[in-house]
Symmetry: C2
Subunit: 157 residues, 2 copies
DNA sequence: AGATTATACTTGAAGTCTAAAATATTTTTA
DNA sequence: TAAAAATATTTTAGACTTCAAGTATAATCT
């Protein structure tokens, strides 16, 4: 009498690998598309948009290190992006009273207006790109990914 | 008489946006993790790994232009990555008989060995990172993403 | 054949990204 | 309080990236 046993005991590993490769491919394609749209319509870039989006969520402003934390890009990187946004008058660096090392980065009025327009366009682009997913599917997969992100954050906080 | 109508007629748009933001976040976290692992364990990088993975799938070797095609990175970019891999003795440029412009890039014996180890580690890392997903879930979500990728490829070929 | 066009690749400029070193400024410790 | 440790940010070095221009070679046209 034989015991029923899968030929590939750890097939799950391959399935997960495939999932990752698909996810990577999809993300890159979407990113490329968004990058193109941002450049064509607003002469802007994804990193700039990301920074503005973060600042838009935190009306009181964020310190450089908090920004790089939220955006998960390196510290030194944020410097350049914020520099350029400041040049364009979209953000300002506000000194933090009592700590001369730090400064808060905040959206200017112009930055807010600019971002409002871009955010709307961005949502429309995504809605179009992801039309493949129904609202229900979107919610379901979001849930999985959220759990994944939470798990990852728990591993190396 | 009032008609029953949802307050947010295009809620799906928000759901899809959330899906994208989660996907982006998850992808970036995973990429960062992989990058770190590759650097710490193999003193290598993601682009290098990608090139070796491609060459591993095409045992007969790939021309530079084919490589840049498969990897979807620019032509000039591949030159540098292959240069460095060649310096490390992981790949060689083999002249194509009958066409002195082109050369085939192939993994060396050392490159093959190196990649075998890295690929195994890579799969294990992913299996660990994505342990949140069951094999079934992985397959299901893969399916959605695949459909998405196909749809995207159909839009701008 | 000789001139044009196309292909394969490399080079160079300009910019982005990460990780790590350097700087400046608190905060903590002995 | 002086020294050490921690924090916030910038600077730097080097890999990666694209795009445009350049070089060499091959294929095509007249």
């Amino acid at each position: 009498m034989s015991v029923t046993q899968p030929v590939h005991p750890d097939n799950a590993s391959k399935d997960r690998l495939r999932l990752w490769l698909r996810m990577l491919k999809a993300s890159r394609m979407i990113e490329t598309q968004l990058r193109e749209n941002l450049r064509a319509e607003f002469q802007s870039t994804l990193p700039r948009f990301d920074v503005m989006a973060a600042l838009s969520r935190y009306q009181d402003g964020l310190k450089m290190s908090q920004l790089s934390d939220v955006l998960r890009v390196s510290n030194g990187n944020v410097t350049g992006i914020v520099d350029r946004l400041a040049d364009d008058g979209c953000v300002v660096r506000v000194p933090v009273p009592g700590d001369r090392r730090a400064s808060l980065v905040r959206l200017t009025k112009r930055g807010h207006e600019e971002f409002a327009v871009q955010a709307k366009a961005h949502e429309d682009w995504i809605n179009d790109i992801l039309s493949e997913f129904s609202a229900n599917q979107a919610v379901t997969v979001s849930g999985h990914l959220d759990a994944l992100v939470t798990a990852l954050e728990g591993k190396a906080p």
